[in-house]
Each structure stands twice: as structure tokens, then as C-alpha cells.
Subunit: 320 residues, 2 copies
């Protein structure tokens, strides 16, 4: 159990307690669910921003400068950086060690790296749980920063209120982004490193692709902003575009609708993962192995699957 | 129901029937499971090869030339090309139209593109089901060709007996491959476009990374082959390396062990997807919406999830 004190410190943004709370969730400690249930009524005040894009697009630089900008306005910022890691190297490659020393010492900034450890699906859930903790702790902005390479990473940024896709002028980058599903999720684009050759062409090609997106007069049309992250150029404009998008969502009462849709999706995921966990709890895996290894077995995977399912249902009925 | 005739034609490699059988599986037609159960005892004879790598590495070119090479040895080949698609463009970007005209007319070659249509997880299952159909139909080699960008694509190539990761000498490519989890799954590497500058350096950096992989004297050590796909250079060596890997697996009785492990994993996935399907069949989704939209509701997502689960279990008990 968690002490009263723990929750009080968490809600008053004590950095150590916040970090510990995220560890509880990230490591699936027994108190995790109790913790998340306890803080739920304190969530909903932070504005959540997702920043994604292909590797090397400069997402971290943009995130850092955007954070500094929000700090200059007196706002607090929490960053959840999600790194795809290799199970065999064991650790995150995209370290945030550099920036830790830069903005991490600021009391109004919280940075957390979350790695996959081989289970991407679980990571999405944990990143969103962590955002709830940071939301309850009172951070004004929560930024999910993740490389846009797979469905799970997209799920994470889609949990945000505003999603920014960062691209660079390199040839074919926008086409790759389209293939990776990044075009659908962007509330706006940032063309970073826009002093490089091909920047105008990239903007044109992005605009062309966006024209194919169905829209009407009330639709939000994704803008394309130019930036040079390393020179802090275009950062204020990014913050303004986030603000513009937030106002748009509010004016059509979409922020609440969108959050409810995302909550529905999240609950579905939780139900499914809990059910799956219960499914494999009672030695059902052994049934598969027994069937596969029995020399005479000629059952197809689908027939074996049905046997397992029936056996799981019997377990539920017996426990009743 | 499917006619006797249909199954006979399928097992005798009638291209039209094979294509139709894959469509049944891909479109989740009601006969899909009956079909897969019927052919299961005819599977297990094809050798399955996975070819993956970053976008633009030249996987299709390698696949095409490898196919021609196998054909020159009198072997039949089926290719399952898995394309990540964009829900908003609607279709596959990485078409195989070009090669269809080249090797697709060959009676001993079967090519099928499978697209995601927004559900990557389902695609893995369907690609493996399709491989079973092609296996039963009697193709000697089945090649899964997929871009290595996400977990689901990796799942598909991991269903293969031998997995080939194709890279190019571009700087950082091997590091990106490591981040994407490609280093773990490779039984060997093909450094394509190896006439480009940086090829030797790329080989060295790959070797360095591979040194960190735990191994003992009986381990299979992933080799790194150089190739120039467009010039048909290095293709014979790829086929020889596949053969060498197959012999290694057989000599340690690993082929059967590995296939049983993969079958176990596959059955688990089937059980889970069937259970999830049943979960949402009985209006359980409405329960989430009701709870979320009730103004007084202060339940956390985890509490709502528990309510849904209990309600699902009651449904199972009642139906008993």
C-alpha cells in the first residue's frame, strides 16, 4: 500500500515521488493499479502534446526548445521520451543524458525515458499511465516524444491532445512518413532543418499529399511550419500552433469528445490485456505444448486454440 | 462450405484456387477456418524464408533474383509481400506491379501482396495462414518479404525458418536496424548495394555489433554477405547461405524445435484474438461508453475495465 503522504507529495509535484510513482507503473508493481485509481480524479488538467517523426528528424531538439519556451511563459512541462530499444543491447540508444543536464535541473521540468524491454504494447499503456501521474502531479504540459516507426509508437502520440509530426527536407521523407501512418495523425507538421536544400519542395509535396485528406469547412487543416531546432528558429510558432489547435478543439467542443474517444480506446486495451493475462494464468500454455508435442496430434492451430478457449471458459465457470 | 474439388485443386497448386483460398483467409470469410483446418496435415514441407530490412534496402530486388535462382534449380516459389499501407491513401505504396510482369507469369512462381488496412496484428496472422495455404499447395519455398519497421512486420519474418536482413552501406543504417530490433532476428545479413562507398565500414560495424550477441561453440553465427541486387551479384551465395542455415538447423534437430516454438506462439495469438473477438461481441463496448458519458462517473479506466470483465464472465457463465 502507498502512504497518504506519498499521494500528497505526488499531487504537490515532488519530483522524487513523481519518479517513484512512474517506476511503480512502469515495473508493474502490485500497487500500480491502486495508485492509478487514487489519482484519477486529479487528472484532466494537463495539455498533452505528442511529438513524433522519423529517426534523426530532430524531435528531441524541438522538444527541448519548446520546453524552454513554455518555461519562459511560467508553465511547467513533463516529457515522456519513448525509445525503441533492442532486447539484445538491453538499454535505450536515444539517451536523454545530454538534455538532462540542460533542462533537467529546472524544477519545473520533469523528464522520463521509457524503454520497451521487448513489449511495445505494454509500453503504450505504461506511457499513458505515466502521463496520468504527471497530469495529477500538476504539470501544465505533457509531451510524449517518440520515434514514429511502428503502430505502438503511433498509439502513444495519438493519446495526446495535439500531435506534431517532425520531418526534414530529405528526399522521400514525406513519402516514408505517409507509409508509416504519420500523415494521418499529424495535427500539424514541423519541417525541421528547413535551411537545408529541398525545404520548399518538401513543403509543396506535403501540401499535395494533404490535399487528398478528406475535409470540410469545419475541419482542422494541418499546417506546415518551418523550423531550425538547433537555432531555436520557429519554436515560438510551434507553441502558437499548439495553442491555435487547442482553441479550435475547444471551440467545437472537440477536446472533451476526443478525450472520451481516446479513453474508450484505452479502456478497451486495458480490458483486453487483463483478460489475456487471466487466460494464461492457469497453465493453459501447457495445454498447447502437450498438444503440439503429442506425436499423433493432427489438429490445426485453430482447433487447438478452440480447445484452449473452452478450457479457459470452464475455469471461469468453475470459479463462479 | 468449400467443395472437394476446391481442396483438390488447391493441393495441386492451381494458381487461381490458391489465390482464392488466400482471399478467403485475408477477408475473414466464414469458410476460412474450415479451409485452414482441412489443409493443415498437408503443411510442413515448404521451407520458409523471411526477408526484411529498412525501406529502400532493395528487398524486392533480392527477392526477385533469389526467386529466379530457385526456379533455375527447378524449385517452385511463393512470395508473400507485406506492405505497410496508409489508411488514408487506401492502397499499397510498395506495389509489386513491376515484378508481376517479370516473374509473375512463371507458372512456378506465386506472388501475393498483403496490405494492412489498419490492423497490423491481424495481418501477421493472415500472412502466416496464407503461408500454410501455399505450403499445402506444394510450393518448395515461401518467401515473406516485409519492411522492417514495426513489431508486427518482425513477427511475420520471425515465422520463417530462415530470416535474412537486408541492409545498405548508408551511414547509421546498421544502428537504425539495431534500434528496430532487426539485429536479433537475422540468421544472416545481406549488405546490398555493396558497391557503394562505406560498404566495408558497414560490414565492420555490423560485425562489431554482432560480437555483443551471446553465443557458444554450437551457436549459429550470422554471416554478412555482400550483394548488388540490381546486378544479380551475390544471389547464388544467398541461396547457399539459406541452405547452410537449413542444414545447421537440421543437424541439431532445431528445425522441428523452432517450428514447434513458433507454432506455440501462433496458437497463443489465435486463442487471444478469438477471446478478444468474443469479448466485444455482446455489447460490452456500450458499457464503456455509458460509464464514460455518465456525468457523475469518477471511476478510473482500470475500475471501468474490471466492470467490463466481470460482465463478460457473467455472459460466459449464463451461456453455460
Amino acid at each position: 500500500m502507498l502512504s497518504e503522504n506519498f499521494l500528497t507529495e505526488l499531487l504537490s509535484k515532488n519530483k522524487k515521488t513523481v519518479a517513484r510513482a512512474i517506476t511503480i507503473v512502469e515495473s508493474d508493481y502490485p500497487q500500480a493499479e491502486f495508485l492509478l485509481n487514487s489519482i484519477f480524479t486529479n487528472t484532466g488538467n494537463a495539455y498533452r502534446i505528442g511529438i513524433t517523426g522519423p529517426p534523426g528528424a530532430g524531435k528531441s531538439t524541438i522538444t527541448n526548445h519548446l520546453t524552454k519556451h513554455y518555461r519562459s511563459l511560467g508553465k511547467t512541462v513533463a516529457i515522456i521520451a519513448v525509445d525503441p530499444t533492442s532486447p539484445f543491447t538491453g538499454g535505450a540508444l536515444l539517451g536523454d543524458r545530454v538534455r538532462m543536464s540542460e533542462i533537467g535541473r529546472d524544477e519545473g521540468v520533469f523528464i522520463r525515458s521509457m524503454a520497451t524491454r521487448g513489449n511495445l504494447g505494454g509500453l503504450t499503456k505504461k506511457a499513458i499511465d505515466a502521463a496520468d501521474i504527471l497530469d495529477a502531479a500538476g504539470y501544465d504540459f505533457i509531451i510524449f516524444e517518440t520515434v514514429g516507426v511502428g503502430q505502438s509508437e503511433l498509439d502513444i502520440v495519438q493519446a495526446a491532445d495535439t500531435t506534431i509530426v517532425v520531418l526534414v527536407p530529405e528526399s522521400g521523407d514525406s513519402v516514408q512518413a505517409m507509409k508509416a501512418g504519420l500523415m494521418e495523425i499529424a495535427d500539424f507538421f514541423v519541417l525541421n532543418k528547413s535551411d537545408r536544400p529541398g525545404a520548399d519542395q518538401a513543403v509543396t509535396s506535403l501540401k499535395t499529399i494533404l490535399m487528398f485528406k478528406p475535409h470540410d469547412e469545419h475541419s482542422w487543416l494541418p499546417n506546415i511550419l518551418k523550423a531550425i531546432g538547433t537555432e531555436n528558429y520557429g519554436i515560438k510558432e510551434i507553441a502558437e500552433e499548439v495553442d491555435k489547435h487547442q482553441k479550435y478543439l475547444n471551440s467545437y467542443n472537440l477536446l472533451l469528445t476526443q478525450r472520451k474517444e481516446k479513453l474508450t480506446y484505452r479502456i478497451k486495451e486495458i480490458v483486453e490485456s487483463k483478460l489475456i493475462q487471466q487466460l494464461w494464468q492457469h497453465g493453459k500454455e501447457q495445454l498447447i505444448l502437450d498438444q503440439i508435442h503429442s506425436a499423433s496430434n493432427l489438429s490445426s492451430p485453430y482447433q487447438i486454440a478452440d480447445d484452449i478457449l473452452n478450457s479457459f471458459k470452464e475455469t471461469i465457470i468453475e470459479r463462479d
